[in-house]
């Protein structure tokens, strides 16, 4: 068996293993991914949960459910995403992509980076 064939064989069998693992692993819940990312973001910006809730103009319980990833992705509407994006100083498209939604075109006004409201943004 040639070295080239052995290299090919190893690469293909590694791909078989990878595909098999992917087929059995549970896909990530997009709402949980968003919530955990927002927790990291708020942590970096030094914004506590109660302040996040206040800036978002929602009840603290609601903010907790959102950040813990327990609010279903279908319940996270685009206007809410845009407000969140403003608080964490990101383009709304980033949060849309994180939720597995289509990103808007670069020139779309609703994807413009908003002025920072974070106050502690580096």
């Amino acid at each position: 068996m040639s070295n080239a064939f052995e290299r090919l064989r190893q690469r293909v069998l590694a791909e078989v293993d990878k595909e098999r693992a992917a087929a059995t692993h549970q896909p990530v819940d997009p709402a949980r991914r968003l919530g955990t990312f927002l927790q990291a973001s708020l942590g970096n910006l030094g914004i506590p949960r109660h302040e996040f809730a206040s800036r978002l103009d929602v009840e603290r319980d609601y903010a907790d459910v959102l950040l813990d990833g327990d609010l279903s992705a279908s319940e996270i509407h685009d206007d809410l995403l845009q407000k969140i994006a403003q608080i964490v100083d990101y383009e709304p498209n980033l949060l849309r992509i994180m939720l597995g939604r289509s990103a808007l075109a670069a020139g779309d006004a609703s994807n413009t980076a908003p002025p920072s409201l974070s106050g502690t943004h580096r």
Binding site: L8, E15, Q26, V28, G43
Partner: protein
């Protein structure tokens, strides 16, 4: 794994005769032994076909290795779409995949393509752990801690990037390939790969800083 269902030894003809619908089912189940046998059965002939296709189009034979690997990886990913009729049809299916890859290579400029392939491979290696954590749902406690540390590092790194660069990094973390991203942004795949490499370095730098901060806190 049903080893007894697989052809173990024999001539090329014996092996081909042993290829049947049950074997295809094992390939679909991503059974390593079944794929190993398929490689042993068809790799030589497929490679000769790829070389003939490259020669026919006046393309360099040095591309044969890349086309061959891409062909097999595509076969692994797309085996669900193959409808079994005969061993011959299975080989023709593999040939069709290889010709598609030859045509794709023909469409792109060879020099840039070869560079991009290298860069893609490097990205896969470097970003894989971030990608895995970003797309994995069930985690151990250790993974959960690593996941949160990495998300914090990704967030810090993203804040140092321009808006378009952030979106490119995120799309990659969500599973899009550099080529898909390049097409979406009308950029060269090589530019995307370079940007991703820079982003990866930023993430790792922030991960390291995070670990150092944690250590300082522990020491205090």
């Amino acid at each position: 794994m049903a080893d007894e269902m697989l052809p173990q030894t024999g001539t090329r003809t014996d092996l081909t005769m042993a290829v049947d619908e049950n074997w295809i089912a094992l390939l679909r189940q991503l059974d390593s032994a079944a794929w190993d046998m398929l490689l042993r059965l068809y790799a030589d002939e497929l490679r000769r076909g790829i070389q003939a296709s490259l020669t026919k189009r006046g393309m360099p034979l040095v591309l044969a290795d890349d086309v061959e690997q891409e062909t097999w990886l595509t076969a692994v990913r797309k085996i669900d779409s193959f409808r079994w009729e005969s061993a011959d049809k299975l080989f023709r299916w593999l040939r069709a995949i290889s010709v598609n890859h030859v045509l794709a290579y023909q469409r792109w400029q060879h020099t840039e393509l070869l560079t991009d392939e290298t860069d893609d491979a490097e990205q896969e290696e470097h970003l894989e752990r971030f990608y895995n954590l970003f797309n994995q749902n069930q985690r151990s406690v250790e993974d959960e801690i690593a996941w949160r540390e990495q998300l914090a590092a990704i967030d810090r790194a993203m804040r140092e990037l321009r808006p378009q660069e952030r979106e490119i990094l995120l799309r990659r973390l969500m599973g899009e390939t550099p080529r898909e991203i390049a097409a979406a942004f009308n950029l060269k795949a090589r530019s995307v790969s370079t940007l991703l490499l820079r982003a990866k370095e930023k993430i790792e730098a922030h991960l390291l800083l995070g670990l150092l901060d944690a250590k300082e806190k522990d020491d205090v």
